[in-house]
């Protein structure tokens, strides 16, 4: 078939991009070459709309071993150990085929991590669905949860934390973000940079089939009514093969045979081979007849663009082929020498003894398009003035019931019970806490991880929202006693070709950058997912932040459950009564306008560091950060988990009681301390100029809010735990 501009446009390329290709090649590309360009130049692979802005993120730090640009980021956790981690989206395929979409999302991110030589030790996820009333939501949710479990459980990697939200803006575009942490020795990290001439290029893993062809291009476009037709672009996962691939790769990595290794993810053999060559400033030659294929008569075009899962590309030291083959044979995996590195700086493909493609590597990578898209700034909305009499008819207990059973607040046990969260025998904090925590096997250390997003805040004011998500993530790590080290981000947005959506992206990234810089919490890896939109309607801007922290002595880990009667409950951080964009304002008052709570980075850092010093001294019995729903929701969760109650003091501030309990001011934590430690705690907090006050005292089994309001812990539990299973079985 002769290539022309129309065919290029069918491949998702723009007219001027096609012209650029012809100019770079000084000829018309053939179909295989066009396919390769379209795979490398789509939004998903090239980051053409986001690169300019991502450059502004802080990516360096004392603990950073590898920042963005590799398969995953790497941080130092001392004693020669390092954690490899990354988050990635699989939104588009999960909407089309929820089970496989979510499963291969989990499989893909684990591959990114073990490609670098790390054994995966924890999985997390952030999943977002449309309104609970929408007809597709339940099936999508069930499929996604089964898919995440199906893959992670089979791999034997615990899923230790996650986040689930519902919002009608996801009705036509759900989000599935998967994150993996792996453990590696600092001196045994593997990279994807090719080196040396004439080195064998090895294909290992599953055979190549016709699934997932143009998956990355599909993920670089908006949805329309014909989206169901895109099903063949969704990959099919085989976690069993991936488990074998993991063990085989780690076995080979024990030696010194590997020069470079790269998993075949988005855009399959195309992007893996080109990225390795590009990083090494080399050429690469591949004989496509040597690629193990699942189906007969696959064309070079199909082989290069297939996104079949569970495959890796390795550049080996010469002479190590036999040794490597033996390992892959043992694990029953395909192994084939498909090519070699060259000094031509071209990617050259051969099929049936004919050259079928020849493209200079730099045209695909360095010369890929980069756009400075137009974007619109979002003004800070005006604050609502809530007249105090709007609260007069409200009963606190009724509001509490409504909020605790809200789908975005209620217990997600229905979900995480379907994930194996205890395999590997090191999970010391299960899902449902502020962070998941796993021990570093065989040591006194533990790593904590949390994934967070606040689409409503980001939508109301992207700059503040971007800062808030990073701050909340930092607080979730601090709350379990972990020193936050670094983050990975998954940036889920609508179309970058729409000025408003692009503005949301630019300002969220700016907010993320400001907060991570101030908190010394650099971004070491990530991924951008644009075009989460159906026709003209985009999702609310949803950056997901996955943070990792270190606990030096795992016995000092903190959980949120109240521990002992008569202990004192303190709040750290000042409650100003910010109601706009709070859950209360949105679901009780039905007010959807106004600014999100302000983020004061000085207070965030100071409050967090002060709490960590209290924890280090052994003064904190339980802790929980205050986020969605305010003080009362945070307290309810601590009561439910600890099966204990609290008698609240009268608020010292002169603000209204409802505002005091439900406001979503930032930078706040609730902590439990023993009476005998009160003076010492007060002294330390005062010395650090941390605002704090006594909230109440822990009692037997009721939450006593004021003289008129008393709720039993059993009632709180029933509000919080029943919604999900009722919904799923209705």
């Amino acid at each position: 078939m002769l290539v022309n501009e129309n065919i290029a446009i069918e491949h998702g390329l723009k007219s001027d991009e096609y012209k650029k290709i012809c100019k770079l090649l000084k000829r018309t590309p053939n179909l295989t070459e066009l396919g390769i360009f379209s795979a490398m130049w789509n939004e998903h692979c090239s980051y053409k709309s986001s690169r300019l802005h991502l450059k502004k993120l802080p990516t360096k730090g004392k603990k950073v071993i590898q920042g963005p640009g590799e398969n995953a980021g790497v941080i130092d956790i001392e004693d020669g150990d390092a954690i490899v981690f990354k988050i990635e989206s699989h939104n588009h395929p999960s909407f089309i085929e929820p089970y496989q979409g979510a499963a291969t999302g989990v499989g893909g991110i684990m591959r990114d991590v073990f490609t670098m030589g790390a054994r995966p030790i924890a999985n997390l996820n952030s999943i977002h669905f449309g309104s609970t009333q929408h007809k597709k939501t339940k099936n999508l949710l069930r499929g996604v949860v089964h898919g995440i479990g199906g893959y992670g459980n089979c791999m034997g990697v615990p899923t230790i934390a996650g986040q689930t939200s519902f919002d009608s803006s996801y009705n036509g575009n759900i989000l599935v973000n998967a994150m993996t942490l792996g453990l590696v020795k600092k001196n045994k990290i593997f990279y994807s940079k090719a080196a040396g001439l004439d080195k064998p290029v090895i294909y290992v893993g599953s055979k190549t089939g016709r699934d997932g062809i143009h998956g990355a291009s599909m993920a670089s476009a908006s949805f329309d009514e014909k989206i169901e037709e895109k099903k063949p672009t969704v990959q099919v996962g085989d976690p069993f093969t991936e488990k074998l691939l993991l063990e085989a790769c780690l076995e080979l990595m024990e030696g010194d045979s590997i020069i470079a290794i790269q998993d075949m993810g988005a855009a399959g053999l195309t992007s893996s081979s080109i990225e390795m060559a590009s990083k090494g400033n080399l050429g690469i030659e591949i004989n496509l007849n040597k690629v193990p294929c699942r189906e007969s008569q696959m064309t070079p075009y199909e082989i290069m663009l297939s996104e079949s899962q569970e495959r890796m590309l390795i550049i080996l030291e010469k002479g190590k082929e036999e040794l490597a083959k033996k390992i892959f044979d043992k694990w029953n995996l395909d192994f084939s020498v498909i090519g070699k590195t060259t000094n031509s700086k071209n990617i050259e493909l051969f099929f049936d003894n004919k050259q079928v493609a020849k493209i200079p590597v730099n045209t695909l990578v360095e010369n890929s398009p980069m756009y400075d898209r137009k974007w619109k700034k979002t003004k800070l909305p005006k604050k609502n003035k809530f007249k105090k009499d709007v609260y007069n008819d409200l009963k606190i207990q009724d509001i509490l019931k409504k909020i605790l059973s809200n789908p975005n607040i209620c217990s997600k046990e229905w979900i995480w019970q379907q994930y194996d969260h205890t395999v590997m025998g090191d999970t010391i904090q299960k899902p449902g806490g502020d962070s998941g925590v796993v021990r570093v096997h065989g040591t006194e250390k533990a790593v904590a991880a949390s994934v967070d997003s606040s689409a409503v805040y980001c939508w109301a004011h992207p700059l503040t929202g971007g800062k808030q998500v990073v701050a909340e993530n930092w607080r979730n790590l601090v709350s379990v006693g972990a020193t936050p080290i670094a983050i990975t981000n998954c940036l889920n947005f609508g179309s970058p070709e729409n000025e408003e959506n692009m503005g949301e992206f630019v300002e969220c990234v700016q907010g993320i950058g400001e907060a991570s810089k101030y908190l010394n919490f650099p971004v070491v890896s990530g991924n951008v997912s644009f075009y989460n939109q159906t026709k003209e309607v985009g999702i609310k801007p949803t950056p997901s932040i996955g943070g990792v922290g270190l606990i030096k002595d795992y016995k000092k880990m903190i959980t949120m459950d109240f521990k002992e009667n008569n202990n004192i409950v303190l709040i750290i951080g000042k409650t100003e009564g910010h109601m706009d964009q709070s859950l209360f304002a949105r679901i009780i008052l039905d007010k959807k306008n106004g600014p999100p709570p302000e983020v004061n980075l000085f207070n965030e850092k100071n409050n967090g560091q002060s709490l960590l010093s209290l924890i280090e001294k052994g003064l904190v019995k339980s802790a929980h950060d205050i986020s969605l729903g305010g003080i009362i929701v945070a307290l309810s969760k601590m009561c439910i988990k600890g099966n204990r109650g609290i008698k609240l003091n009268k608020a010292k501030n002169l603000i209204n009681e409802i505002e005091y309990l439900f406001a979503e001011d930032q930078g706040r934590y609730i902590i439990e301390i023993n009476q005998k430690d009160l003076n010492e705690v007060n002294k330390i907090l005062d010395k650090n100029s941390v605002y704090h006050e006594e909230l109440g005292i822990i009692i037997e089994k009721d939450m006593i809010i004021n003289s008129k309001t008393k709720v039993s812990i059993d009632e709180l539990k029933s509000y919080n735990t029943n919604w999900f299973s009722n919904y799923m079985s209705s």
Binding site: C154, M155, P239, F240, L244, Q417, Q418, G425, Y554
Partner: protein, 230 residues
Amino acid sequence: MKSSVITFPGSNCDRDMDVALNKFGFKNKMVWHDDNELPKSDLVVLPGGFSYGDYLRCGSMASKSKIMKSVINFAKSGGLVMGICNGFQILVETGLVPGVLLRNKYLEFICKNVFIKPANKKNLYFKNIDKNILEFHIAHNEGNYFCTNDQLKEIEDNNQIAIYYCNNKGQIEDKFNPNGSIKNIAGIFNKEKNVLGMMPHPERMIDQCLSGEDGSLFFKNLINNIKNAS
């Protein structure tokens, strides 16, 4: 005491079992499924996981692997063989213990702590254990134990039921049954009581900071019983 843990392609609790056995005094060896001979062992464990991806039927392909001939001979000559979770599914497929394991009643994977009650203590696994109700952990998709009425009668007549799902007070009722197993059965013996298959994972309960410590109790007791019997 010497133990062996078999690794099949897709096993994923083999390391956890190795850690647990070593922690409580076994000298454990990892054995590859494609080997012919078992090393000398006082206990052989088939660990949890997804051998062969659970394809075809859970445990069916693993039950035909090379090493299993040797494991079956070891069991038939009275050696202690314990199958946990996927290991239980493999044991069922070999016919060493009766019955089958179906998909969980509510069609969902379940990962949580459960209480179990040993049916009796006249066997090397639970003899002398100083608790009547233990808190173990389950994580499975196909743990719904089923057998025919005739089989059930035989199992009961021979005291082959090893453990039941119950609540923290030891009540064995349908509402404490996590997966729909017939009679709340969580584990089963062969007639001679040297082969035990069970869904719960004692190896995930060996540290207070994990899910609990009743697994420690189980392993300490087991190694003592083996020592005293030999």
